[in-house]
Amino acid sequence: MREALLALFLSSAEPLTRARLAGIFDGDPGCAGWEAALDMLLATGEGPLQLVCVAGGYRLQIHPRHNALVARLHVEPPRPLSRATLETLAVIAYQQPVTRPEIEHWRGVAVSVQIMQQLQERGWITISGHRDTPGRPALWVTTPGFLEHFSLPSRAALPEIVTMEEGQTDMQA
């Protein structure tokens, strides 16, 4: 019965209701235990699939534990961060909490709304409060998600930047 149920769900483009299933199974003595099998399937899923209850009935979906893999099939490969975005993230990481005008000061150019949005959507920066100065500008900080992505135990674990002189030699190298 479990296989029969799976065959039906797998071949159906839309969710199946109990009524619909009853219409298919009822009257067939070989399908007597289908309701028990359905409940079992709901509880345990099957392989990489789980049966979920949606408005229109029941439907199979891939268990979220396979998300990372399924994403490789369906999600376009990520594009590298633009230089502007990377610089903005660096200022926030090293200077936090920091206001947008301050970021612009560090970078020497205006910071576009898109860049801030992109970093927020990525889950790497967030607003921690407001500076108590005229205009009360938002203070930006990095998130735990940022630390996680870069495998950092804490904000303090950001690599130290060498002194200016060393940096300069580095530049010339």
Binding site: L10, S11, Q61, I62, H74, E87, V91, F150, I161
Partner: protein, 280 residues
């Protein structure tokens, strides 16, 4: 010369027919009556089921167990015309192509009566060859269509799996490393000198007019003596701070919170009006 009116390119049929010659085994079913007998009501159905005169012709040839490569044109033409005649007699609608085909058959028949030139190219001369090619092409298409029909079809013979949904997927993080981040920060630090960060300007003696007015008033009240103007202006300040302080003095004078008094030098000084000193 193209004796019939259908679109033709000529090349395809020839290449197709020669590339894959069709062997036509004419094995009509034994239970099929010979000759021209068609049940009266069946003629209409029969003609409707043909998609054109060529198909009717092919059907006739197969039914008479004739060889496509060696068509007895006279007999086929006779039968073909008979069907056409029957159809017209029963007022059945016939497409014009059926008549074009009849004309072509008649022409082939006529040409076959001419003597064969002794050294002539046979393929060029035998008018039946073009007909045979067309019939073979159609026979081949029919075979291919029948072959397609034998294939399993989705939704009839098998059901593919409908893609299962998956939870919302988030785009993979961009490939950026900690080193990239640190390098970006270092590059920023190494850039040519910038103006001081805005955080520093906040402790710079630029300040609001109102705040400067308050500070000035407090100073004058703390030491209620006549002040020279330059004593009230900030020391070593930039132009903006001086300007704001000047504005503050003028505004306080306008509001009569401060007043000007003459001194013995013939100049003037700034004082807190007497009433306010005692009032505060």
């Amino acid at each position: 010369m193209q004796p019939w009116g259908w679109p033709m390119s000529g090349t395809t049929a020839e290449s197709g027919a020669s590339a894959a010659p069709v062997r036509v085994h004419v094995q009509a079913r034994a239970d099929l009556p010979d000759g021209l007998f068609v049940p009266p009501d069946a003629l209409e159905l029969l003609l409707e089921s043909f998609s054109g005169p060529l198909e009717l012709l092919l059907w006739l040839i197969r039914r008479n167990r004739m060889d496509i490569r060696d068509i007895p044109v006279a007999e086929v033409t006779r039968q073909y015309l008979h069907y056409l005649h029957e159809a017209r007699r029963r007022n059945l609608e016939l497409a014009a192509e059926y008549l074009v085909m009849a004309a072509w058959l008649a022409e082939i028949k006529a040409r076959m009566l001419l003597p064969v030139p002794p050294a002539g190219d046979d393929t060029d001369f035998d008018p039946r060859l073009e007909l045979a090619r067309r019939l073979e092409a159609l026979a081949m298409v029919q075979g291919q269509a029948a072959a397609l029909r034998t294939l399993s079809q989705a939704g009839r013979d098998f059901w593919p799996v409908c893609p299962a949904l998956h939870p919302d997927l988030f785009p993979a993080p961009p490939p950026v490393s900690l080193a990239d981040l640190a390098n970006a920060w270092r590059a920023l630090l190494l850039r040519p000198p910038r103006r001081l960060p805005p955080a520093h300007t906040l402790v710079h003696p630029h300040m609001g007019l109102r705040q400067r007015m308050v500070e000035m008033l407090l100073l004058c009240r703390r030491e209620p003596r006549p002040w020279y103007l330059n004593e009230l202006l900030p020391l070593r300040a930039d132009r903006l701070a001086v300007a704001v302080s000047l504005l503050a003095v003028l505004e306080l004078l306008r509001q009569r919170a401060l007043a000007l008094v003459g001194n013995e030098d013939g100049g003037w000084q700034i004082v807190v009006p007497a009433a306010q000193v005692f009032g505060s």
